[in-house]
């Protein structure tokens, strides 16, 4: 408790962590002698990460798999050593990295309570005085003198959790261990965690459960590829992470469908057919519709309606080539959104982007909008397009230009009528002249 007057509970200073990945699973003396130095690769798990956690703060760490969350927690728990940088921890720490780590299968529940609690740093006397509490919390009174190898996995986790929370540290590190047991036991676990919060303990949580994170945490950090992508207010960071995951998912689906499409095209080309049969077209259409029916974003603001108007503000469902039209969409805010970017994207039937623009590219500065506020966004343009069917995807982007509040892909179709027949997308309005030499 020597550092109790320090400003922060945890200070992470320029932490870098490299993992060594050996190609061969287990190093051996034989190989060291015969082959000399083992070949290995380095994996950068954390790259120059710095932040502080205040006393009595509930602090969340989120990020996709492999982003370095658990590594970070293990570094704070001193299980791993950083390659570079320093971590200062002020206060006693209990790390719930895995429940029941160190349980011995052949020992009884009672014996494991004593063993596990002493591994977690409790003195024998302290364990004895808390023993009943631990057992009562785990609801395993009847089974406590049975070897833990006869426990179900739920019982195992319950006992592990009960021991861990009774260690009573200043700082609690939690890694994905709140999903323990049935509903009733889970709510008991949350009660304990909230109790920790009330008692002014510092809690650092790693979880994929974004609801819990935004509910529990004061501040959150969002890790991406071992770097801090965003840090700050939990709602803000969680929504940023959400749209990142959604983008990722969308790209994955699109990539997958592109592959499928390629496969179909390839089979057509390989068979040297000129005609594509109906079944294949069907398949292609299905693939496309999968992409089209997508909507992404945090939902902090949403697109309510989209319309196509002519220059006299009359509702139309097609336009002529060269006509001036307005694409109008209505936006409703559900949360405070700062300086959003409103955009549209027009694509053709092959999903090729014909045109895209947004308020930022137009040099328009937007305000901070309050929940409940409504806006109408108008895009006015001349439709210099070759005749055909086009679709419009409106979007509300966040000011970081990476994440979205809402993005509805292919929300509206515009049919463009053209008296000229030409190929492609844009009408360059060519005049053909023939000169005799």
């Amino acid at each position: 408790m020597a550092f109790v007057n320090s400003d922060y509970a945890v200070e992470v200073k320029n932490i870098t962590k490299n993992y060594v990945i050996r190609h061969q699973k287990n190093p051996s003396l034989k190989d060291a002698i015969l082959k000399g130095k083992d070949k290995y690769e380095k994996f950068l798990a954390l790259d120059d990460v710095s932040f502080n956690v205040n006393h009595s703060e509930t602090f969340g760490i989120i990020g996709s798999n492999g982003s370095g969350k658990s590594t970070l927690l293990k570094l704070m728990a001193k299980v791993l050593k950083p390659t570079k940088g320093d971590i200062l921890v002020n206060g006693t720490v209990s790390a719930l990295l895995e429940l029941g780590a160190g349980f011995h299968q052949d020992l009884t529940g009672r014996e494991n309570v004593y063993l596990n609690a002493s591994i977690l740093g409790l003195k024998r006397k302290e364990i004895s005085s808390r023993f009943d509490e631990i057992v009562e919390f785990s609801e395993l009174e009847r089974f406590i003198d049975m070897p833990v190898k006869s426990y179900s996995s739920g019982m195992y986790m319950r006992l592990g959790f009960s021991i861990a929370i009774n260690v009573n540290p200043d700082i609690l590190l939690v890694d994905e261990v709140l999903a323990v047991g049935d509903q009733a036991f889970q709510s008991k676990c949350y009660k304990v965690i909230y109790d920790f919060v009330r008692r002014g303990k510092t809690i650092i949580i790693v979880s994929h459960d974004l609801e819990t994170i935004s509910d529990l945490c004061n501040r959150v950090i969002f890790l991406k590829n071992g770097r801090i992508e965003e840090i700050g207010d939990s709602i803000k960071v969680v929504s940023a992470y959400r749209s990142y995951v959604e983008d990722l998912e969308r790209n994955r689906i699109i990539e997958q469908q592109r592959e499928e499409r390629k496969k179909i095209f390839k089979s057509v080309i390989d068979s040297k057919r000129k005609v594509v049969d109906a079944e294949e077209i069907d398949k292609l259409l299905k693939i496309d519709s999968g992409v089209f029916e997508n909507r992404f974003g945090s939902g902090d603001a949403e697109i309510v309606k989209i319309e196509l108007l002519d220059k006299d503000d009359k509702l139309i469902d097609f336009c002529r080539y060269g006509e001036e039209v307005k694409i109008v969409f209505e936006v409703k805010f559900n949360n405070i959104v700062e300086n959003p970017i409103f955009g549209i994207r027009i694509t053709d039937h092959r999903n090729i982007i014909v045109y895209g623009t947004n308020s930022k590219l137009n040099g328009l500065k937007t305000d901070v909008y309050q929940p409940g506020e409504k806006l109408k966004i108008v895009f006015k343009q001349v439709m210099n397009l070759i005749g055909g069917s086009y679709t419009v995807s409106p979007s509300i982007g966040n000011k970081d230009t990476k994440t979205y509040c809402d993005w509805i892909i292919n929300m509206m179709t515009i049919n463009v009528m053209h008296s000229n027949i030409a190929e492609g997308i844009a009408d360059l309005n060519s005049k053909v002249i023939i000169i005799k030499k």
Partner: protein, 272 residues
């Protein structure tokens, strides 16, 4: 180094808990648990007694006692090192998930084997009483020798357990080396039978010095400080130079083992 020992001291309860766990797990599932563990030395004793007294006719008086006095301390060493070699890997779940001074794992192996050794000594005392040996005459020297041996055993175990994380096949090598070590230590033969020019070199092995000491106390029941003395059966008191060298090597090995262990320890969580 001193701060490491302080930390170890702060975690002493864990050391005892883990030692207890080792013992419990070993003797769990059989009422005769401890007596099963006696089976190994008893069998070795019977086999060697047969070979040395009936086949080879060495003429060593009460060979069973002669053997046991040196065999039990060596078994303590051998078991600790053999079990200790794989102990860090066997406890991967602890090493990866929980922070504590990791040397507690091999040390708990040494301690649990020490408890086993002490229980075996009690059995030895019974045997000695039956054969009417005055084993209690120099018993006051026993704790001192045991403590010194514990340091040596701990040193080798720490060294082997940490190196085994980096070189997984070391474990197999250790088993073979321990067999060589067994025959290189005067256990089934008296040191005096070794040609004189090898005797000094053999005693650079601390286990050889320990074995002769145990035997002096229990079997010969003679102890003359720092005076070299030999009788027909090879009673042999190491001189003070040998004792000093033995102490030097013992503590050298202990600190080397501890140092190497601490050096490799930060890599455990990633390597196991």
């Amino acid at each position: 180094m001193i701060s490491n020992f302080k930390k170890l001291f702060a975690y002493r309860e864990l050391l005892f808990s883990l030692t207890k766990k080792e013992l419990k797990v070993k003797y769990r599932g059989s009422v005769l648990g401890f007596f099963w563990s006696l089976l190994n030395p008893v069998l070795i004793m019977l086999v060697y007694s047969f070979v040395f007294t009936i086949v080879l006719r060495q003429g060593i008086k009460e060979f069973a006692v002669f053997l046991l006095c040196a065999l039990l301390p060596f078994n303590f060493f051998q078991n600790s090192v053999n079990y200790g070699a794989g102990c860090v890997i066997a406890n991967a779940n602890l090493v990866k998930k929980i922070y504590f001074p990791k040397e507690i794992i091999p040390l708990s192996i040494v301690l649990s084997n020490l408890v086993n050794f002490l229980l075996e000594l009690v059995v030895l005392f019974v045997v000695l009483s039956i054969f009417k040996y005055k084993f209690y005459t120099y018993l006051y020297l026993l704790p001192l020798i045991i403590v010194i041996e514990v340091f040596f055993v701990s040193g080798v175990t720490l060294l082997v357990s940490s190196l085994n994380v980096l070189f997984r096949d070391l474990q197999h090598l250790v088993t073979i080396l321990m067999m060589v070590w067994f025959f290189g230590t005067p256990i089934i033969y008296p040191l005096a039978n070794v040609p004189e020019r090898f005797q000094f070199w053999m005693q650079l092995n601390p286990m050889a010095v320990f074995a002769t000491f145990y035997r002096d106390i229990f079997y010969y029941v003679k102890f003359r400080d720092f005076v070299k003395y030999q009788d027909n059966f090879g009673f042999y008191i190491p001189d003070y130079r040998i004792i000093l060298i033995c102490l030097g090597i013992t503590f050298g090995v202990f600190f080397l083992g501890y140092f190497v262990f601490k050096k490799i320890e930060p890599r455990f969580a990633e390597e196991v």
